[in-house]
Amino acid sequence: MNQINHSLSLTESAKRPLNIFQNIGSIIGFSGLATLLISLLNIYAESQVPYLFYGAIGAISLGTIIYTIGSYGGKTEGIKNDYNWLSGLTSKGSFAWIAGIFITTFYVFLYWFPQHLGLGESGAANKGLVGFFDPLSVLLKGEGKFASQWFMYGTLYTLAILIFGIKFIVKYRHNRYQVIRTISVMVFQLGFAFIIPAFLERMSLPYNDFKNVWPLNYYFFDTWNINGMLNAGNIGLFMLIFGIAMVLIITPILTYFFGKRWYCSWVCGCGGLAETAGDSFRHLSDKSQSAWKIERWMIHLVLAISVLMTIAVIYNYRAQETGYLVTTEIFLIGIFSLALILSGFVIYNRNKWIKKQNKIAFQITGGILLSLIAFTAYSYFLKGSNDLFVIQTYKIQKFYGFYIGAAFSGVIGVGFYPLMGSRVWCRFGCPMAALLGLQQKFFSRFRITTNGSQCISCGNCSTYCEMGIDVRAYAEKGQDIVRASCVGCGICSAVCPRGVLKLENGPAIQDRATAKRAIFISEDKVGLLD
């Protein structure tokens, strides 16, 4: 193996030559990007801004499409992964680091220093990059409604999903699952995350992204958001009811029938960006056992924190308001009973957990539930306090918003695409993915089936799994795959050169998903499978 590793350093010599379309596309695309960035210097005259803005967006889109035609247009339909590990941008080379640092820097400014991107503070007019988006903001939201840094970000985000979505569709045009799925994320992003919110703002209604479900949308139950919806008439009430129905009814049902993919790789905006703009980096995800271990710890801790925070926030809201059907007492008793039931479930299944050497996870979960029981009981006797837990609620919210909502999902989640793969946030941090994953693992009809003994252990499935699942480890045993983290993108099935993997919804998952199936030989006879 030493020798071959040595030969991989030769890869620098195997540079992919760019064809004429790719060169022209790059020039047009980068000139559009440069026009955007130069806006930061405030050298554009106000009358030029609209032309330059639409020109820049147009150039970025056109450039990407021309580049895509150059990359895939002249080629036959099929899997086109040549050079992924040979060219620097897609194999953590210097271009990848430049791109990573560039995106990360952008996020740092976006979250914490938007004024340096040109956001007008305390009523002042926008300048720079944010000001550059004013024409579109006014066009969509109405006179006087200028861009915020979030509008600028949302526009770029949507643009990225659309243009790289087109690239993805061209690349996988032979695979109808991929085409339909990508159209779906493009439509949900453009419609639900971009146009409808702008339209709501035009109507002076509160901001709402209907597909952004709690707990991914961690502020859904925040006092200001609830009040905003309650003060917005019937439409606001609909938003509130729809948001709660998404959590309690729609999500569990869809996840039962289709697995978490219906959300993570068909609807979600984070998933949408990962699947489109992040597609070129999907193979960078870490497949090691230790990464899987870290993943389980982190994602479930984030889920626990976000659940506790939400309980505290709702309690806080209840403590302030009166006149609702559910009183503070009932709320506390409800949480208390829920925690008791969950504890019962955990204790009932303790042997299973410990057998799987999840003793620490068992203890932590138990700890969280016990403290929940203790704190709700404690708060019940201390009615009137604004804080459910010993820590003040706003401190949890601040911690969550800063470290998880911004730093994790944005800066690391997207900024590290070129270095750690496209699903870092979805895999290690998203509480929604954690919640859906738990359901997928224990209560869903979704699985990836394997096709008998056709696996050749090549490793394409594992390599191209953006969630870092070692798909091959299951496929070579002829074992169906039921993993909490699987977002059902279907790329493992697409890249398999032997047609071994298929995403399926079926009856209750039984023995096909356990490792007890022999590879070829059962205990008493020789044959294929058992």
């Binding site: 030559p17 008998g452 032997r498 205990e523 044959g527």
Partner: protein, 444 residues
């Protein structure tokens, strides 16, 4: 018991894993190619940049340490079967109680003049990738000799580096020694679509060099082609030279009985290097494919552990990918069928997709499936074939076999229509796509 396995390919490693799963014996695996087992069929993907070398290695070092499987990177000089001892290249030796020989194949080089020149290359070992990488640097044209599975892989590899390729194929179509004519033609056309100069009915005659480097080839049609690279992919043969002057009985490969035992006590041979004395009807003595190697590895382990069973590879299956066209075969699909064999063939008018069902005309029993660009379920096809299911029963339930991803068009109805048209019957497709029905059918 001390069990030594020579060779860490799919056969040897499967044997080691199975032995460990069911026993605590000492297990030693020797290899002279790489420390860790890798997927040989995936070498092309490393070269093309789809994966890194480490990605084609299913288990890391820790896996072998945890399972107490000892790996040694060394070369075996010979085996002294009388004293049950393996003599290594460095004169050390290892004793064994049981020996599994799983040394695989080596590429056939034939006797072409000029085969020793720099630039003549095979594709088999992981080290070959390095050589091909080096040769690519100044390659104006590469020649590939042979119309088999490795040949098309090598063509795809060179094509990925934008190197013009000429393929010399002895047969009238690519791989027509195995594929039925329509499928062979489909693949041939697809290869040409990648601007590969596919020369059919053409053989290599001589390789000419300049300063010990390949410069030109001469074909049997008298054509001379300038090139810097000649890839010889005309098949493989058992890699057993190191056992030449031993008492081990050999023909082309190491001769084994149905228990995978050689003529020497406690010595087994499995995989590509083994030659079965009495193969099952319709099967070959030597089947150098991944899947049979894996089955033999598992079986050898069971036999060593006293759970004695005869080798029965079951219904034949195989798969491959020719550039973008996936290929799966289940059962018997002859390229040149004898009298009395019925064939139902459907081909997509535009795309590279086809389905072929082979059945016995007199008994109407299904015999085989040949799929291009369409995926079928292994277990379902196997069950139909082994249960000698009636062709009409198969056809009316054909959706059960479809394994294409969701939303893909399914063409089973067109096959039923074709059958109805041919035979004047009025069969209908019974099933809708459903995993539930598939699992029910399989558990019947």
């Amino acid at each position: 018991m001390k069990i030594v396995i020579i060779g860490n390919g799919i056969s040897g490693i499967t044997a080691a894993k199975t032995l460990r799963k069911h026993s605590d014996h000492q297990i030693i695996v020797l290899s002279d190619e790489s420390e860790l087992f890798f997927s040989r069929t995936a070498l092309m993907y490393v070269f093309m940049g789809h994966m890194r070398a480490k990605d084609i290695i299913p288990h890391n070092k820790k896996f072998y340490d945890d399972n107490n499987i000892e790996l040694y990177l060394t070369r075996v000089r010979t085996v002294d079967f009388d004293s049950k001892s393996i003599i290594l290249e460095d004169d050390n030796f290892i004793d064994y109680d049981r020996l599994i020989i799983a040394t695989g194949s080596k590429p056939r080089l034939m006797n072409w003049p000029g085969k020793q020149l720099d630039g003549v290359q095979t594709l088999y070992h992981i080290q070959d990738l390095e050589n091909i990488e080096r040769l690519c640097e100044n390659m104006e044209r590469g020649i590939i000799v042979g119309g088999g599975l490795i040949g098309v892989e090598l063509a795809e590899m060179l094509h990925s580096r934008n190197i013009p390729v000429t393929m010399l194929v002895r047969e009238s179509q690519y791989w027509s020694s195995v594929l039925p004519l329509e499928e062979a033609k489909m693949v041939s056309d697809h290869i040409r679509k990648h601007s590969i100069d596919l020369k059919l009915n053409t053989e290599l005659k001589e390789i000419w060099g300049d300063k010990k480097k390949v410069k030109m080839i001469l074909t049997n049609t008298g054509e001379k082609i300038n090139c810097e690279f000649v890839g010889l992919t005309v098949g493989v043969q058992p890699n057993i030279d190191f056992l030449h002057f031993t008492k081990l009985e050999k023909n082309k490969g190491i001769l084994i009985n149905d228990r995978l035992e050689t003529n020497m006590e406690g010595v087994y041979a499995i995989g590509d290097c083994a030659e079965i004395r009495n193969p099952k009807e319709g099967r070959k003595n030597i089947e150098a494919v991944w899947y049979t190697g894996r089955m033999m590895g598992e079986l050898a382990a069971h036999n060593i552990l006293g759970k004695e069973m005869n080798y029965n590879p079951g219904v034949w299956f195989n798969s491959a990918k020719f550039f973008d066209i996936e290929y799966q075969v289940y059962g018997s699909v002859p390229n040149n069928p004898r009298e009395g064999i019925g064939q139902l063939f459907w081909k997509h008018p535009k795309k590279n997709k086809s389905i072929r069902l082979v059945y016995d005309l007199s008994t109407k029993e299904i015999m085989g499936f040949n799929l291009m660009g369409i995926r079928y379920r292994h277990e379902v096809c196997e069950k139909w074939i082994s249960e000698k299911t009636h062709i009409e029963d198969v056809l009316s339930n054909l959706t059960l076999a479809n394994f294409d991803p969701e939303f893909f068009s399914s063409y089973e109805r067109l096959l039923v229509d074709a059958y109805n048209q041919e035979t004047g019957s009025s069969l209908k497709l019974k099933q809708k796509k459903s995993l539930y029905k598939v699992l029910n059918f399989l558990s019947k």
